[in-house]
Assembly symmetry: C2
Homo-oligomer: 227 residues x 2
């Protein structure tokens, strides 16, 4: 796969999710996303309003989307809480939400609880004409669990399935992205995230089927030459 | 401070908060909490119902409380989402909630946002006659910030201020607990948590003013001799 730097940039969610993130850092993130042509800025819920305001000041036909995270990074909060969090994020202007699957339910084989939680969030997102990515934390799953959650996604039709939060152990792997691409219906895209720090690795993940890359240092990703 | 093992146990919240926690582990946690006389079991929201059911089967005059976490561990979710999460936890039988302060607002000096978020949760908890602990993540705060959030707690009167989530860098320190005890009104208790793995350290924290200890291996804490 030979991607130009601008093609690669257009696939990156420029991301900052630390609990003590500063407003100045979010302002810089937004400015950089505009400058480099990133797909989106991915920020905590508390920074959605600020990011929307930052981007509203920019005159451009191709602005980054504001992306936020829901039930992050544990996924074990109540569906009602996730729904409330998503609703607020949409009200404040987020265009995309990256929602952590209920990993507790999943790891305990309670698939109806996993499904009901996702179904509610995917329905809300669809009704709001927004984009939803389901974070499955692939590094925590067995092959069987990863396949099963992708099959569930095929039934529920989120816009994306996303590999990782970046906060619970290892992040994206080539193997996980390949498995996801094999199992997921063609209409469901893949976001790879967590520990992606080199352009060569990002390009391998894209070649394996990733449509979007989440990275906390998107600029460094662009700067390096392709491997 | 010379605490007997049972006195120490009565101050410990026996804790398991990993995202992929298994039901069997929660069942064991509850059984151990009964056996050793721990103050509480601290589990993710998804396990509150199971923990309440486990403890309901036990005949004893002194049962551990079911404790859960809200807005955990980032603290940057919307107040409405935290409120919904707390309400569900109370409905399912949690007696105590450990709520993460909005660290994003705090680190950016937006104290009115910090206050409004806490005020809502403390009011809900008081109206529900439950116990609320405010997690301030002391290791992430400057001395000035730690003092200021304790002064805010004095105004809002939560039951406890708690040092740490255990998931964002270092946990409890003697220095933080001493500062908290100096600044907090006498009626507000302190929970120390995060990285407490030795009985000697637990006893030092208690001597410095901690009323409760959060630990993921409470039994090991009891087993070691006092230093």
């Amino acid at each position: 796969m030979d991607l130009s730097t601008s093609e690669l940039a257009a696939r990156i969610d420029h991301t900052a999710l630390a609990p003590g993130l500063l407003l100045e850092a979010v302002d810089a993130l937004c400015a950089e996303a505009v400058e480099y042509g990133f797909a989106g800025v991915c920020v905590p819920p508390w920074f959605v309003e600020r990011s929307v305001q930052n981007l509203a000041k920019v005159k451009s036909s191709r602005l980054p989307e504001v992306v936020t995270v829901i039930g992050f990074p544990m996924g074990y909060s109540a569906t009602a809480a996730k729904i409330e969090e998503a609703r607020r994020a949409f009200d404040q202007g987020a265009r995309e939400i990256d929602v952590v699957v209920n990993l507790a339910a999943l790891k305990n084989g309670r698939w109806s609880a996993v499904r009901d939680d996702l179904q509610s969030l995917i329905t809300l997102s669809a009704m709001s004409s927004r984009t939803i990515k389901v974070i499955v934390e692939s590094a925590m799953l067995s092959d069987t669990e990863l396949i099963k959650v992708c099959e569930l996604a095929n039934a529920l039709e989120p816009d994306f399935v996303k590999t990782s939060t970046g906060f619970n152990g290892p992040g994206a792997s080539l193997k996980a992205v390949k498995t996801m691409r094999e199992v997921l219906a063609p209409g469901i895209r893949i976001k790879a995230s967590g520990g992606i720090r080199e352009r060569g690795f990002a390009e391998e993940l894209i070649a394996a089927g990733a449509d979007r890359i989440g990275a906390s240092n998107g600029i460094a990703l662009l700067g390096e030459n392709a491997s």
